[in-house]
């Protein structure tokens, strides 16, 4: 099973819309994994049914037993994350700041600190109307384990795909270049970059490509909103040539993107006559490379 990750660096370039369109085009051939766990939106288009869901625990969080605590403050001094506060003469752990390193637990002379497993999110396996299944997740507020949740979603999706004899795992990645993106790239066979013809789009593509190059994963690029700024589109094309990234298509600025999202449709469902040939051509070019 081949694993293709869709990333962009910049948010809002059309990753999820393009991922949904490819799922629509390829139908039963694949499993889709939504690894933008911070802002997972793919389910709003693929409208999955019959979800099976499971809680995801990762990392620890400290808590202080007020009955045992003698307010010596050793834990507060040890903590590098300013996660222990003194409120009304009581040492308290701030859940959002605690990284679960356990340093406080080890230094507490009263054994007043305990470490508990933290529920950081939920993952689900769902059926879609396209015949492909979707593995997706929901991350809790402010959680710092999105990389681990991405790894979990990917490994569930991989096992699920292998069980069903699918040829392809299509991963919708996160914006940025940090832990969720790094986690989505690990083990990937191919990358699809979705960028837009703006200076920000180009700058973010360059940074995310520098990251991908460390993983030595080959890739193809779709330039969205290409007619918004032909000069920048041209710069992007030159960058792709120089970096040996396959340029698989320019997509003009189109109101079909928000329209389709608003109707809960894929681009192909929104306007098949226009979009089916566009994505067929894109997919043919990518298929030859994987």
């Amino acid at each position: 099973m081949k694993e293709i990750v869709i990333i962009s660096g910049k948010g809002g370039t059309g990753k999820s819309s393009i991922c949904a369109a490819l799922a629509d085009l390829l139908q039963e051939d694949l499993v889709v994994a939504d690894c933008d766990v911070d802002a997972a939106d793919l389910h709003l288009i693929l409208s999955p049914q019959a979800s099976s869901s499971e809680d995801f625990y990762s990392g620890l969080i400290a808590s202080i037993d007020p009955d045992k605590c003698i307010n010596c403050g050793i834990c507060k001094t040890a903590c590098r994350f300013d996660a222990i506060e003194l409120i009304n003469d009581q040492h308290i752990v701030s859940g959002l700041d605690c990284e679960g390193c356990g340093y406080c637990y080890h230094v507490c002379p009263q054994e007043a600190i305990s470490l508990e497993e933290q529920k950081v999110g939920q993952f689900m396996i769902s059926e879609t109307r396209f015949g492909c299944d979707l593995v997706h997740a929901h991350l809790g507020i402010g959680a710092d384990n999105s990389g681990k949740l991405v790894a979990k979603v990917k490994s569930i999706a991989k096992d699920h795909g292998k069980k069903l004899n699918k040829n392809l795992l299509l991963v919708d990645g996160s914006p940025g270049i940090g832990c969720p993106v790094i986690s989505s790239l690990s083990g990937a066979d191919y990358v699809i970059y979705v960028t837009e013809a703006s200076l920000s789009g180009l700058s973010d593509l360059q940074r995310v490509h520098e990251l991908v190059a460390k993983f030595q994963v080959p890739g193809a690029c779709i330039v969205n909103k290409a007619d918004i700024n032909p000069t920048v589109a041209d710069k992007i094309h030159r960058f792709l040539t120089r970096e040996k990234i396959l340029h698989v298509g320019d997509i003009p600025y189109s109101e079909d993107f928000p329209k389709a999202i608003s109707m809960g449709r894929t681009l192909i469902e929104e306007n098949s006559e226009w979009w089916t040939p566009v994505f067929t051509k894109i997919w043919q070019a990518i298929k030859e490379k994987i």
Binding site: G9, K10, A78, I141, G176, S198, L199, G264
Partner: protein, 283 residues
């Protein structure tokens, strides 16, 4: 006053709003704009400016001292991030998994894991007319944005104290990086767009800001696309709708060139005035 501009969904106009708001505010108030989207910072494309200072941000990583180490292996059980491994007669440190908690280093009975600074990223300070602009860039390949965000905010506190207005351009999402950027703000502006994606991610962002107990309001960008569900949501939840920015191709074109909008697009300038007034009233 510290105002953070955030959104759950990426690409909804955080940077557009931040750079325009800061530039306009700087005409009358001492203002600093801080680009905290350290993974993909874009503010500099719009602001430019003269470089004032550069600062290399560091993070501390344990460095194994094979002479001191007795191979007791306790450090590997202390580390909750699996950043230390005992392999035969050596301790292997995996920097990318390390959270710089110092536990292994300070608990080691023979001081065999002294902390050593490694590069984390770069904080750059520019000035454009009366506006101070600070951006940070995370080194490519590093996973954790939050420590650099924290250091950037400390830089502002120590080098640019007393500015009347600090405008923070936050990273997208609702995970740790976004929380690190907004948690000490006096006011948060959430910017979204009227599509189901925009609404879904706005809900998550609202939940986050409510949990942090920070006053906030919402700006809707690209008004005219999608549907009205987001406005219904704001009304139902009694969330302040600060302003709407119309959906105009001209805005997308100017944005793509890295151009300022408010001098060019009157509807955008009107929205900006409302936003600025809302911020000042919230004081």
């Amino acid at each position: 006053m510290r105002v953070a501009i955030a959104s759950g969904k990426g690409g909804t106009g955080k940077t557009t709003l931040a750079v325009n708001l800061a530039t306009k505010a700087a005409e009358t108030k001492s203002t600093v704009l801080v680009d905290l989207d350290v993974e993909e910072p874009n503010g500099a494309l719009f602001i430019g400016g003269t470089p004032i200072a550069e600062h290399n941000a560091k993070r501390a990583i344990p460095n194994w001292d094979n002479v001191q180490c007795t191979l007791c292996g306790k450090c590997t059980s202390w580390c909750k991030f699996n950043a230390l491994l005992k392999l035969g007669e050596m301790i292997l440190v995996m920097p990318n998994l390390c959270h710089s908690c110092f536990a292994c280093s300070e608990l080691c009975p023979v001081d065999a894991l002294p902390m050593q600074d490694e590069s984390l990223g770069r904080i750059s300070h520019f000035r454009k007319d009366k506006l101070d602009f600070v951006e940070s860039r995370l080194d490519i390949g590093l996973e954790q944005a939050s420590p650099l965000i924290g250091q950037t905010l400390s830089y502002i506190d120590s080098h640019l104290p007393g500015r009347e207005l600090q405008i923070l351009d936050s990273p997208p999402g609702t995970a740790c990086a976004m929380v690190s950027a907004v948690k000490n703000a006096d006011y948060v502006i959430l910017i979204s767009e009227p599509t189901p994606f925009g609404l879904h991610d706005l809900r998550l962002a609202v939940e986050t800001i409510r949990q942090l107990k920070i006053p906030f309001g919402v700006v809707i960008n690209r008004d005219g696309i999608g549907n009205d569900d987001i406005y219904q949501y704001l009304a139902d939840e009694e969330i302040k709708l600060i302003a709407k920015i119309p959906h105009l191709r001209r805005i997308a074109e100017l944005y793509s060139q890295g151009a300022m909008l408010y001098q060019e697009v009157p509807q955008f300038d009107a929205a900006l005035t409302k936003i600025l007034n809302t911020i000042l009233e919230s004081l």
